[in-house]
């Protein structure tokens, strides 16, 4: 029994996202004028084993604060789902 954690790390609102800007520009050039805004962040999938759900949640939050997100310029959120034994 284990957990699949999905972590979403996004640039904070107000912080410049040059990558998103460049992709938006390029999508316009490719003929997608409907794209009004693009923000680009990170998506992480972590497989956790041998922990309870509660503990997984607490510890994942710590991982995000410590390493996975740069809290000065990024926000994060995550979801945890059960998976079968790997």
């Amino acid at each position: 029994m284990g957990w699949l954690a999905r972590v979403y790390v996004t640039p904070k609102t107000g912080v410049l996202d040059p990558q998103g800007k460049a992709v938006q520009h390029s999508l316009h050039a490719l003929g997608y004028p409907e794209v009004e805004d693009v923000r680009i962040g990170k998506y992480l999938e972590l497989r956790l084993v041998d922990v309870s759900r509660e503990s997984a949640e607490v510890r994942l939050q710590k991982m995000c604060e410590q390493l996975l997100a740069n809290r000065v310029i990024e926000d994060y959120r995550f979801e945890i789902d059960a998976i079968g034994t790997s």
Binding site: P18, Q19, A22, S26, A29, L30
Partner: protein, 247 residues
């Protein structure tokens, strides 16, 4: 012969490539702009190093849609010679003109250092001035130079003798330590099946002068010139005394 050197917004080695071709090798160079829809009549198009469109999203991902790339695709489809160096290689892979992809270096960091590459095949438009097994001393400078492709593609590359350069040590041995970025099969440069499109991560244009970076890079450009001189237009072959004498 006539060369086109493409400038994308964010290209960094375009001027150096043009300088080497014009001033050190006596070639004719036209500069092509990313917004151009066509390229002058030339014998070879070079996509230079740099960070085209900031290399945002993925290296080369945005650049492949530049108007000039339609012209490059047509040129290649007609058998024209295309050379992609570093970022140029990444663009060619993204554009599907070369197989595979270039991902983040094994050690993750940007890496600027000298490497050795072994010539796997001297019977190409790009390496005919070398011998098989020759080792070239060239610089690399990239963050995403790890060449990957699926198993089938790798086998096809081997079978089709499309792997032109591999990272090696100075003695030509392919070892894990000599591989600067984790590339599969230590691949440093590949050509397409037809043999007219070539991409490599090392920078021959930064190794064409004794004073700055050595001279091994000349062999790549001189091979293209020699091939063009033979196949395309013998009259324009350079008089090699000028070409070969370094400072």
């Amino acid at each position: 012969m006539r060369w086109a050197v493409v400038t994308f917004p964010g290209s960094n080695d375009d001027a150096q490539t043009a300088y080497v071709l014009e001033h050190l090798l006596g070639e004719t160079v036209v500069r092509a702009w990313h917004k151009d829809a066509s390229v002058d009549a030339v014998d070879c198009i070079v996509l230079p190093g740099g960070f085209a469109y900031g290399d945002y999203l993925r290296c080369g991902a945005v650049a492949r849609f530049a108007p000039i790339m339609r012209a490059v695709e047509r040129f290649a489809a007609g058998g024209g010679v295309v050379l992609g160096i570093c970022n140029g290689f990444q663009i060619l892979c993204e554009a599907g003109l070369l197989p595979g992809a270039l991902i983040r270096n094994r050690e993750l960091d940007f890496l600027c250092r000298r490497v050795h590459v072994r010539v796997e095949d001297a019977d190409t438009l790009f390496t005919n001035r070398c011998r098989r097994g020759d080792v070239l001393d060239l610089p690399v400078k990239h963050g995403e130079g790890c060449y990957v492709a699926d198993e089938a593609t790798l086998q096809a590359l081997e079978a089709g003798r499309q792997i032109v350069l591999r990272y090696s040590d100075a003695g030509g041995r392919v070892t894990p330590e000599a591989n600067p970025n984790g590339s599969l099969g230590a691949i440093a440069g590949v050509r397409n099946a037809r043999g007219n499109v070539f991409g490599l991560m090392p920078h021959p244009e930064h190794a064409c002068e004794w004073l700055v970076g050595g001279e091994d890079g000349r062999k790549i450009f001189l091979s293209i010139i020699a091939a063009a001189g033979g196949a395309l237009d013998p009259a324009s072959a350079p008089t090699s005394s000028k070409v070969l004498s370094g400072p």
